[in-house]
Subunit: 165 residues, 2 copies
């Protein structure tokens, strides 16, 4: 029998994306449009979280209902084919999403955050502090995106910055 | 009935930590001691991953068998009490671990990485590229650790740098 592990929601993510979500966070979304509603039994676990500028939001992409392909062609990559694990595609063997977001404030069990690319009511499964010395890699790269001709344009998409071309 | 989601291993993590793991990665572990063994059916998903300097390794902390407390006192924090979600404690409602590691090389279904703090044979559940513009936050902080008197010392622990005091 195949080993499986169970995970459970610890809350939900509220976003303006009811029927469609951008592939990556949009920078011009309204403040206050994005927040986490943590189940009351976990609210005490948020103590001191507010001391962090950034947090990891970890969620379960529960709208995914297809088997993943091992080779994918990410949006706006102009047909470039890469391995699934070299992409941030939501269609993965374990559809777990991870976003680094700015922490805007906490009120009881509500955590206000900067935008992220998840549908409204996506199940929240964990929150972790983003800790500068562990998680900030200043010499990181953009991998295969760095090799593409229109890299600068693609990076606008990756960062979710609106643009006209 | 409570909602639960199922996740499944996509491979295992090999590390030198058979019976005890450091709280955070140690910098002086041997090259080649840390690698991911991806199940053969997912090996094609690694195509082009090697173009990234850093990757996220996502794993299931399957040795955890206790209910988490919502208030924790992280190791070497001198008794500081913080919320579970303001810590990287492995004892969480969903025991999912996330580490940013350096990608050293890939050989078929084996991914060589820099050190991380997981026990040998920890189930691997996902690999994602760490993409500079999405994941590197140069203005990130250390949250509540920044307020402690011996912050510099604690950061050595967080970074897993061996030291004598």
């Amino acid at each position: 029998m195949e080993t499986v592990f169970e995970i459970k929601p610890i809350g939900i993510i509220r976003t303006p994306y009811v029927s469609s979500a951008p592939y990556q966070p949009v920078e011009n979304a309204n403040e206050g449009d994005f927040y986490l509603v943590v189940n009351p039994e976990y609210a005490n676990g948020l103590y001191k979280l507010e001391s962090f500028k950034y947090i990891y939001v970890i969620y379960f992409l529960n709208r995914i209902d297809r088997e993943p392909s091992m080779i994918v062609s990410p949006p706006w990559s102009n047909g470039k084919r890469v391995g699934l694990f070299a992409s941030r595609s939501p269609l993965r063997p374990n559809p777990i999403g991870i976003s680094v977001v700015e922490l805007k404030g906490i009120n009881d069990n509500i955590v206000y955050i900067s935008s992220l690319d998840a549908f409204d009511k996506t199940p929240l499964i964990d929150i972790k502090p983003y800790i500068k010395d562990l998680d900030t890699k200043e010499d990181a790269n953009h991998g295969w995106v760095d090799d593409l001709e229109d890299k600068e344009h693609l990076i606008l998409h990756i960062k979710g910055i609106p643009h006209d071309y």
